[in-house]
């Protein structure tokens, strides 16, 4: 029975994440190129955090789209530099579902996401990254 529940949970989570990823992809508009990856995590409560490190190359504009649930604004995402100094949090922008980052010179960054405790939403968090060259 427990195995059945785990399987059923797994199935529903996948379907959930797939739907959210499709909704989120709309924020990576055609002028941006997808980095070819989808970052997904199942967050069961606002105390849980999904986190990854990446490199933002210089002379590039990146767009991060962050979604949970079928409406915008359920996910808080933060971008830190390698020394964990905050670069941006969408909490300061009414949980904006996407934000652009203009990168002058290459930097390693840490991106984290968590559910907004004040909003109801799915436990599946999806982050997408797009990029384009900066106009000189």
């Amino acid at each position: 029975m427990v195995a059945f529940i785990l399987t059923a949970t797994s199935f529903s989570s996948k379907a959930q994440c797939d739907t959210i990823a499709k909704v989120c992809a709309k924020h990576i508009i055609a002028s941006f190129i997808s980095d070819g990856q989808q970052y997904r995590s199942l967050l069961l409560n606002p105390d849980e955090t999904a986190e990854f490190k990446t490199t933002f190359f210089g002379e590039t504009v990146y767009r991060i789209a962050a979604c949970s649930g079928l409406t915008d604004g359920n996910l808080i995402f933060n971008v830190y530099d390698q020394e964990r100094n905050i670069i941006f949090t969408n909490k300061d922008a009414k949980n904006a579902p996407y934000w652009d980052f203009k990168v002058k010179s290459t930097v390693d960054v840490i991106i984290e996401a968590k559910l907004d405790p004040t909003n109801s939403g799915s436990g599946c968090a999806v982050l997408l990254i797009g990029f384009k060259q900066s106009k000189k």
Binding site: M1, V2, A3, I5, L6, A8, S10, S12, S13, K14, Q16, C17, D18, A21, A30, F32, I33, S34, D35, G36, Q37, Q38, S41, L42, L44, A50, E51, F52, K53, T54, T55, F56, F57, T60, G69, L70, V79, E83, N85, I87, F88, D92, A96, Y98, W99, D100, F101, K102, K104, T106, V107, D108, V109, I111, S120, G121, S122, G123, I129, G130
Partner: protein
């Protein structure tokens, strides 16, 4: 707790929700009425660590609660073109090599490599070569079970936009993203990881090849900027190291990592600027890098050795 979870599952139909309620209620009864119920639960989940189990259920490429991100190889293909490096067909993986790729391991790595090559030829507006590499990518995608990423509709879009490099880059990014999602959803994390690794190796191959012909600060910098990605790749692959072939690849990457450890990096933190109106933050921090010719030569040698074993396994 389960009711809270139910509320969160917005995509489920009402009927499924009701059935779900019955199943959960019954199972809770079974668990709470049986002595040692918690032990049973532990036994059932013992084989998979909590973090991994959580990640698997969401289709996440995730170890120890950590996600991995590898920059797109298309970015380095774009840098090659914008930095004035001449198109060089000889640096790409020959389409003739495809017959050698017999295992899923080999196919996945080379699917990443051919995808990067497709981006490279598209960036230089080489229509004929784009067709060749799109065909190679399609073949390996079909054979590794990611055919959905290159379905009839997507292939038609590629064909219609073959002469438009911007559209081609967008389409390549979308197709690989779609493949990545499919593989993660179906728990094929090894294949998903290998595609990323193949693409990363090929992007580094673009840079070291261009650097050998005509060195430029931008290209040298791009080579030096791979330390974070390399560390992520090693960590990502290490979860599969008991599988055939992985050990040699991981050892090669760890060896490469030792060279990166000798490069001098100095991070300089500066305050970012955010423009709320345009939803844009400018990152002003930067890292000064000092990479020597000896370090570049060593990286070149090691990357070429790793790549050779991937693209030409029969001769390795």
């Amino acid at each position: 707790m389960f009711l809270c979870l139910l509320d969160k599952v917005q995509v489920m139909s009402k009927a499924i929700k009701i059935a779900w309620c019955v199943v959960i209620s019954l199972s809770m009864l079974v668990i709470t009425s049986c002595g040692g119920g918690s032990d049973k639960k532990k036994a059932d989940t013992e084989e998979i660590p909590e973090d991994t189990a959580k990640s698997v259920s969401a289709g996440v490429l995730n170890v120890g609660g950590e996600l991995f991100s590898i920059p797109s190889p298309l970015q380095t293909a774009m840098l090659m073109q914008s930095s004035g490096a001449a198109f060089d067909k000889s640096i790409l993986n020959s389409k003739e090599n495809i017959a050698q790729y017999a295992t899923d391991y080999s196919k996945a790595l080379n699917l990443g490599i051919y995808g990067a090559d497709l981006g490279y030829v598209s960036m230089y507006g080489k229509t004929q070569e784009s067709i060749v590499y799109l065909t190679a990518v399609k073949k390996l995608a079909d054979e590794t079970g990611v055919s959905g990423a290159f379905d009839v509709k997507t292939m038609k879009r590629f064909q219609d936009n073959m002469s438009n490099k911007d559209s081609m880059m967008v389409l390549v990014g979308l197709a690989y993203s779609s493949g990545d999602a499919f593989l993660k959803t179906n728990k094929r994390f090894d294949i998903s990881g290998l595609i990323l690794v193949g693409g990363w190796i090929e992007s580094l191959n673009f840079a070291i090849s261009a650097n050998k012909i005509k060195s430029s600060e931008a290209v040298k910098r791009r080579i030096a900027d791979q330390k974070q990605s390399l560390n992520s790749i090693i960590k990502l692959l290490s979860q599969f190291e008991t599988k055939t072939n992985y050990t040699e690849l991981i050892d090669g990457l760890k060896d490469l990592s030792k060279v990166y450890d000798t490069i001098e990096y100095k991070f300089i933190s500066e305050k970012p600027e955010t423009d709320m109106a345009t939803k844009t933050t400018t990152i002003n921090s930067h890292t000064d890098v000092n990479i020597t010719k000896e370090q570049l030569d060593l990286i070149t040698e090691k990357v070429e050795s790793i790549r050779k074993k991937i693209v030409n396994p029969a001769k390795a």
